[in-house]
């Protein structure tokens, strides 16, 4: 009797979980199906439907065919731009965040909580509010309309998040460890490289995933501070979809969205296991 009720509750749990999964995956399914339907098929039928003819050409058009004004090179060059911004900005912001988090958590000094507070305050500032200050900064250092300017923006803005996360992770490291190393004569950076960094992979994975996703998906700064062929992939995607006075190219759009999402998806698949582990590492202690 008890056995049977156990099985019944199991089935119920699976059913509920499957239902929730289906609800979450439905939009993705629509995008995947539409990426394989021709524009005409979607316009003449409905947004939701099974492809009648498999329009694989959507992927080719999305990758190297569609035009953004005078340039007809598809999503490809913009993917490269996004990589050129996202990879360095992710590395720099993660590394600097780790150093800053380490400094405010393990090297107590006068005003450290204030500095920490001010840095994390950056998380609460709306993007739009920072647009004008960044314009002035980029103008004055001559980086407006360059990818380097975007790297700088994302590195600095990322610091709020990376510092917060690394600091919360590092406060759990026993102070004795640091003290012992200092007695042995190790300085700030030697301790960081030799002790802190080897202990950090779980939290670094979290910040890398987070930063990579955010920077890759960012649109406002990308479109404001670059022009023409320098623009990131989000700009190209919006260019493909923002025509009010045109029939939306759902097929090509869907294919482009899927291609553009692949790098972030890959990062999640590779690092997802560590993501939750890193997030909860500090919490358990």
């Amino acid at each position: 009797m008890r056995e049977r009720s156990f099985v019944a509750s199991r089935i119920l749990i699976y059913l509920v979980v499957l239902l929730i999964a289906a609800a979450w995956l439905a939009p993705l399914a629509v995008v995947v199906l539409n990426s394989l339907r021709s524009n005409e098929e979607i316009a003449q039928g409905s947004m939701i439907g099974w492809p009648q003819h498999w329009a694989w050409s959507n992927y080719l058009t999305a990758w190297s065919g569609f035009c953004v004004a005078e340039t007809c090179a598809g999503i490809r060059p913009y993917m490269l731009n996004s990589a050129l911004v996202t990879i360095p900005a992710t590395i720099f912001s993660t590394l600097l965040g780790a150093i800053a988090g380490y400094a405010v958590s393990l090297w107590r000094f006068r005003g450290d909580t204030w500095i920490y507070g001010i840095v994390t305050l950056g998380l609460f500032l709306p993007q739009q509010m920072r647009l004008l200050p960044w314009t002035i900064v980029l103008r004055d250092i001559g980086l407006i309309n360059t990818l380097a300017g975007l790297v700088l923006i994302h590195t600095i803005q990322g610091l709020s998040f990376t510092t917060l996360f690394c600091r919360n992770y590092y406060v759990a490291i026993p102070h004795e460890l640091i003290r012992a190393a200092r007695i042995d004569g190790a300085g700030f950076f030697r301790i960081f490289w030799r002790i802190i960094l080897p202990l950090s992979p779980p939290i670094l994975v979290v910040t890398v995933i987070w930063q990579f996703t955010h920077i890759w998906n960012e649109f406002l700064y990308g479109v404001t501070f670059t022009s023409g062929q320098q623009q990131p992939v989000t700009a190209a995607l919006i260019a493909l979809s923002a025509a009010v006075a045109d029939i939306p190219q759902h097929g090509v759009q869907s294919a482009a969205v899927i291609i553009a999402a692949l790098p972030t998806l890959l990062i999640y698949l590779l690092g997802g296991k560590y993501f939750v582990r890193g997030l909860t590492a500090g919490a358990v202690k």
Partner: protein, 428 residues
């Protein structure tokens, strides 16, 4: 939105005065070059501006266009950044009252001489001309026109209603909608669910009921007109329209329902002239639908103007100045306007372009005739829903009220009218 200070205006004014002689000198033997930013990056808009660029190059110019993907906000962010960086584009897309607002932020080029040489002023709708010379001098040029209150009728829905007459007044329109409903058309009014879509229904209603009240209330923001009976009547008409719409359409692009419209499950659509191109690109035929000017109670067409334009920013470089002159000449050229409108499905700004030839659709001819007639009877008005009548902030305040009214059927027309007047007061 741009906040302008008197100091800035002073600076802009003096910079303009200093730069004038430089502009006059610039007509020498340099190779014209043009830096331009616009939001036209894809589809027919992208194709049209690319074609314009080719013409610019054919005339010996260097064309440097940077599309800013997205909508007006993104374009303006980019423009603001470029102006602040001291590197404004030689010309940029900008339309409606934003032209006046932005002209106070940075110095613009005086185009009066080029416009006079082209004899342009005589062939442009007066209200439109006013927008492009906010301080009495031409600083921007309109490029193409759409009417936002065209009436699209589904042939199959007409058959179901056993009707063949195109409605002229709102009474005709309501009659036809009733007949469609009785004939089995599920939603006599085709709708999307975006904010401009709702705004278009209101502006079409008010302008059709009284063009005078529209001009006074929406374009001139006169308090008396805003509280007048016409506004209430317009809201009452919008309620009828809303009752005939499919309530299950969320915030969707109007094109999502084109199939239902053509099939006769939706009957009539109030949309900009661009819907012709959208219908055609979706694979539908002109036999599937009819197109006419929106309902007008006095029988003469009312034309709600939506015009894209370029504003020209002052640059010191001689080649950019020459490029600006060349661009201005091209934009005003009847042949270029013909080429541009034939790609996008709009109509030319010049009222003297002949649309009888090949390459023009029946819908474009109807639109152009409606514009001419509307100008003659002083019924060519500026669209509110598409940011032509007011600056963005004011438009947003008005559309908030309209959209809420369309979606919430417990609000009475009288209440909506009061709310609209209050919203305008608040946004002033």
């Amino acid at each position: 939105m741009p906040i302008t200070t008197t100091r800035r205006r002073l600076l802009a004014g003096s910079a303009a005065a200093l730069a004038l002689p430089a502009f006059a000198r610039a007509q020498g033997a340099v190779k014209p070059r043009l830096t331009a930013i616009s939001q036209w990056s894809a589809g027919s808009d992208g194709a049209a501006i690319t074609a314009l660029g080719k013409k610019f190059e054919e005339k010996g110019g260097v064309w440097q266009h940077s599309p800013v993907p997205g909508f007006t906000t993104e374009m303006m962010n980019k423009l603001r950044a470029q102006i602040m960086a001291g590197d404004p584009p030689a010309c940029s897309q900008l339309k409606g009252p934003e032209i006046a607002a932005w002209s106070k932020i940075a110095p613009t080029v005086d185009l009066d001489a080029v416009v006079a040489a082209a004899g342009y002023e005589k062939v442009v709708a007066p209200d439109l001309a006013k927008l492009h010379k906010p301080a009495g001098k031409w600083i921007a040029l309109p490029l193409q026109i759409y009417s936002t209150n065209m009436l699209f009728l589904s042939k199959r829905a007409m058959d179901k209603a056993k009707a063949d007459k195109i409605p002229v007044t709102w009474a005709d329109f309501n009659d036809l909608a009733e007949k469609m409903k009785a004939g089995g058309v599920a939603s006599p009014i085709a709708n999307g669910g975006t904010r401009p879509d709702d705004g278009q229904k209101f502006e079409a209603a008010l302008a059709g009921i009284s063009p005078l009240a529209y001009r006074a209330a929406i374009m001139n923001l006169e308090k008396k007109a805003l509280e007048g009976p016409e506004i209430k009547a317009a809201f009452a008409q919008v309620r009828k329209i809303a009752d005939w719409m499919d309530p299950n359409v969320g915030a969707q692009h109007f094109s999502t329902n084109l199939k239902r419209f053509v099939d006769g499950n939706m009957g009539m659509m109030i949309m900009g002239g661009w819907a012709q191109g959208v219908l055609r690109n979706a694979g539908f035929k002109f036999e599937d639908f009819l197109i006419a000017p929106g309902p007008s109670d006095n029988g003469k067409p009312v034309f709600l103007l939506n015009a894209d334009a370029f504003i020209f920013w002052q640059r010191k470089e001689a080649d950019l100045q020459a490029g600006q002159t060349l661009m201005a000449q091209l934009v005003m050229d009847p042949a270029i306007q013909t080429m541009y409108s034939q790609i996008t499905g709009s109509i030319p700004v010049r009222t003297d372009v002949d649309l009888s030839g090949e390459g023009w659709s029946e819908g474009q001819r109807t639109t152009s005739a409606a514009l001419k007639s509307a100008i003659a009877s002083n019924q060519a008005l500026l669209s509110m829903a598409h940011n032509m009548a007011q600056e963005n902030g004011m438009t947003a305040a008005m559309i908030d009220v309209i959209t809420e009214y369309v979606k919430d059927k417990t609000i009475k027309p009288g209440q909506a009218a009061t709310r609209l007047a209050e919203a305008v007061e608040g946004a002033r």
